[in-house]
């Protein structure tokens, strides 16, 4: 099947039609699939570049969430005496930092990815969606490495290790969708409005404070909790806690967050496709 679609798309008789586009377009999945080799090359390039010139290399993937956890544990866990649903604060916050760090890094990098690849975008053709997609891919490697630390923490504190762990891959998928949605939206917006390069880090900072990373959802009065769940990361972060710490899943909260994540994904892709044709002209 692999070689079939490859030769079909890039074959000597394949007819490419170039026409002006009006309004909203559907994403061409087949085309995206035919270019998967390129996605692979760009993702592995991103990963290589990320680790090639740093002294710490792979250690950086672990260091960031780990040191954040330590600082948060001291400041919020000890000094501010933040409640943590009965779990030891360090592992409580780390379980949330895991998906959050991935999400924040993914949307931060993909936001600037198109503008950063302007030399490619303005000179050769390929489905532009591949660029923000490849920057999300690189963050996955970091995520996998830092998950190992979480597993160690779980052993240390003697929590988690329940059947809930099986939900982790599904949750991860949802986080990826959310990151892709926001990431592609931001990358397209940054091409059109350059000040997004400055807005994005600010948005990410604020976003973390409206996501229950440092604090548990239970801290917020019940009748206002639904507000928190409109943020798709709320349900997903709590879901990660449930999966790794063995907390019971909040199904309704998760459902809302999943729905919003999918909606964000579709909106992001749709906007991206709409403005894609103009990228080379304005980048």
């Amino acid at each position: 099947m692999n070689t079939h679609s490859q030769s079909e798309y890039f074959g000597h008789q394949h007819l490419t039609v170039i026409e002006p586009t009006q309004g909203w377009r559907m994403l061409d999945w087949r085309e995206l699939c035919a270019y998967r080799e390129l996605l692979w090359v760009l993702t592995s390039r991103d990963i290589k570049v990320r680790y090639k010139q740093t002294v710490l290399g792979a250690a950086w993937a672990v260091l960031r969430p780990f040191t954040t956890m330590v600082i948060f544990s001291v400041v919020f866990g000890q000094l501010a005496k933040m409640p943590s649903d009965g779990y030891p604060y360090p592992v409580f916050v780390y379980a949330a930092l895991l998906p959050w760090t991935f999400f924040a890094a993914a949307i931060g990098t993909s936001g600037g990815s198109l503008v950063g690849s302007s030399h490619l975008v303005s000179k050769v053709y390929f489905p532009r969606l591949i660029i923000p997609l490849s920057s999300v891919g690189a963050g996955l490697v970091d995520l996998l490495i830092s998950t190992s630390i979480l597993l160690l923490l779980m052993l240390w504190y003697g929590v988690g290790w329940s059947w809930n762990l099986l939900a982790a891959p599904v949750l991860l998928l949802a986080v990826i969708f959310a990151a892709l949605g926001v990431g592609t939206l931001l990358s397209a917006l940054t091409v059109a409005y350059r000040d997004f390069t400055h807005l994005t880090p600010f948005v990410i900072q604020i976003w973390m404070y409206v996501t229950p990373v440092i604090f548990p959802v239970s801290l917020v009065p019940e009748r206002w909790q639904w507000l928190l769940y409109i943020n798709p990361m709320t349900g997903l972060v709590e879901g990660f806690r449930s999966a790794f710490l063995g907390k019971p899943f909040d199904i309704s909260g998760l459902a809302i967050s999943f729905a919003v994540a999918i909606a964000v994904f579709l909106t992001g892709i749709a906007y991206f496709e709409k403005v894609e044709r103009r990228f080379a002209d304005i980048i």
């Binding site: 070689t3 490859q6 798309y9 890039f10 074959g11 000597h12 008789q13 394949h14 007819l15 490419t16 039609v17 170039i18 026409e19 002006p20 586009t21 035919a34 270019y35 080799e37 390129l38 692979w40 090359v41 760009l42 390039r45 570049v49 030399h119 490619l120 303005s122 000179k123 050769v124 053709y125 390929f126 917006l189 091409v191 059109a192 409005y193 350059r194 000040d195 997004f196 807005l199 709409k274 403005v275 044709r277 103009r278 080379a280 002209d281 304005i282």
Partner: protein, 411 residues
């Protein structure tokens, strides 16, 4: 009947000019203008407002290219050649019309097309292959050929940001030409390389064409176009002026230059002095009489008349003679910048016999003065020499010009 490799119907491209705030403004501007006129903004989501200035880079272009043809695309700067290639390469979308391309397309639009500066030459070859839709296996098969053609074996693992521009273009061309594309588009990139490389690329493009693939080649080097292309597409101001046999197209193009005896189109003379100098006529004389076509075997005179409009104290004026893109010679009217008053003037140049060979030469005019720096206009006029070369065959006397010399043999 074979399908055309490229089919272009009614192609038009409109650009919105200047006003960078409209192009990629700030989000702040977007918010502000939305508050002021919300409906108007929403309707133009992500687009520019209607008041921006627009111009048509291409207008109603129609042509078809059969597989295996080599088409030279010629025209003045700004005629729309690069825009046409960009649309064919799907870098930018057309405003109107329709294009059909059959098969895989590889394009070389600028030096280092699609190269990522941080990656090595090797990695970039794989990257470009992937962009073209080739699998790693396919690229690996052609890898050695590409590296050998580009002559960068020693540097293949260095990041391309360290390559010289010559190496860049060699690698870029090597990749584009070897990666098995059905249609190859080459923009005026090759001028960056040295003469040896240019020869090699012409040869390779010939091979590509003979292999049944289609080549579109944009160039100002009319000699290269003459040698390589069977067809020529002449674009003028975004429309097709001529599409057909190369020789006919090239003469049509060259005829467009002001001929000796016509009024000069001074608009080409752009720069510091363009408001201070006006050129009237360029006339050629032989044997005292004005001629339209020159006899290459006789001495001739070029006379340029013009007016110095204001502020002149001194001026240095020169004309440059070009053939097939080569700069043959420059001639100054006085040995160095000489005293000059405002008002009309005539510059005369006397040139020797039997140096300039039959064919067409173009003339550029340059000037520098006390009031303004060096200003140049190219392709302002043209000269034509008849085929009267004294019966000598062209093979015995190659070369762009003929120089006086003696040869002897001692045995």
């Amino acid at each position: 009947m074979t399908h055309p490799a490229i089919k272009v119907e009614g192609l038009s491209k409109e650009y919105i000019v200047g006003h960078t705030q409209e192009q990629h403004g700030t989000f702040y501007d977007l918010l502000a203008s939305t508050l002021r006129a919300p409906l108007k903004r929403l309707r133009n989501l992500g687009g520019a407002s209607k008041e921006a200035e627009r111009f048509w880079a291409l207008h109603d272009v129609n042509f078809e290219v059969q597989p295996g043809e080599v088409v030279g695309i010629i025209g003045r700067n700004g005629a729309g050649k690069s825009t046409l290639l960009k649309i064919l390469s799907r870098i930018t979308a057309p405003t109107k019309g329709r294009v059909e391309v059959r098969g895989r397309l590889a394009s070389l639009l600028e030096v280092g097309t699609g190269f990522h500066p941080e990656l090595s030459g090797r990695e970039n070859i794989y990257l470009n292959g992937a962009i073209l839709g080739m699998t790693r296996v396919e690229v690996a098969r052609k890898f050695d050929e590409i590296v050998a053609f580009a002559e960068i074996e020693r540097f293949i693992d260095t990041p391309v940001k360290r390559y010289s521009s010559g190496m860049y273009v060699r690698l870029a061309f090597a990749v584009a030409a070897h990666l098995d594309a059905d249609v190859l588009l080459v923009d005026e990139v090759l001028a960056v390389g040295d003469a040896a490389f240019q020869q090699k690329s012409m040869g390779k493009m010939n091979d590509v064409a003979r292999g049944g693939r289609t080549v579109l080649f944009v160039s100002h080097n009319l000699g290269a176009v003459r040698n390589l292309c069977s067809l020529v597409l002449f674009l003028e101001n975004g429309t097709v002026d001529f599409y057909g046999a190369a020789l006919k197209g090239l003469s049509s193009y060259e005829r467009g230059f002001t001929s000796a005896g016509d009024r000069i189109d001074g608009s080409r003379f752009q720069g510091a002095l363009s408001d201070h100098l006006r050129f009237e006529k360029l006339v050629c004389r032989q044997g005292g009489a004005e001629v339209a076509v020159l006899d290459p075997l006789k001495e001739f005179e070029i006379e340029l008349s013009g007016t110095a409009l204001r502020g002149f104290q001194s001026m240095d004026l020169s004309i440059g003679l070009f053939r097939d893109g080569f700069y043959i010679a420059s001639c100054h009217d006085v040995p160095q910048e000489a005293a000059m008053r405002d008002g009309p003037f005539v510059s005369r140049f006397r040139l020797p016999a039997a140096v300039f060979k039959p064919g067409r030469y173009t003339i550029g005019i340059g000037a520098s003065a006390s009031i303004g720096q060096w200003t140049w206009g190219s392709d302002i006029a043209s000269l034509e020499f008849s085929e009267n070369w004294g019966g000598q065959s062209a093979e015995r006397n190659r070369g762009v010009v003929s120089i006086p010399y003696t040869g002897e043999r001692i045995q």
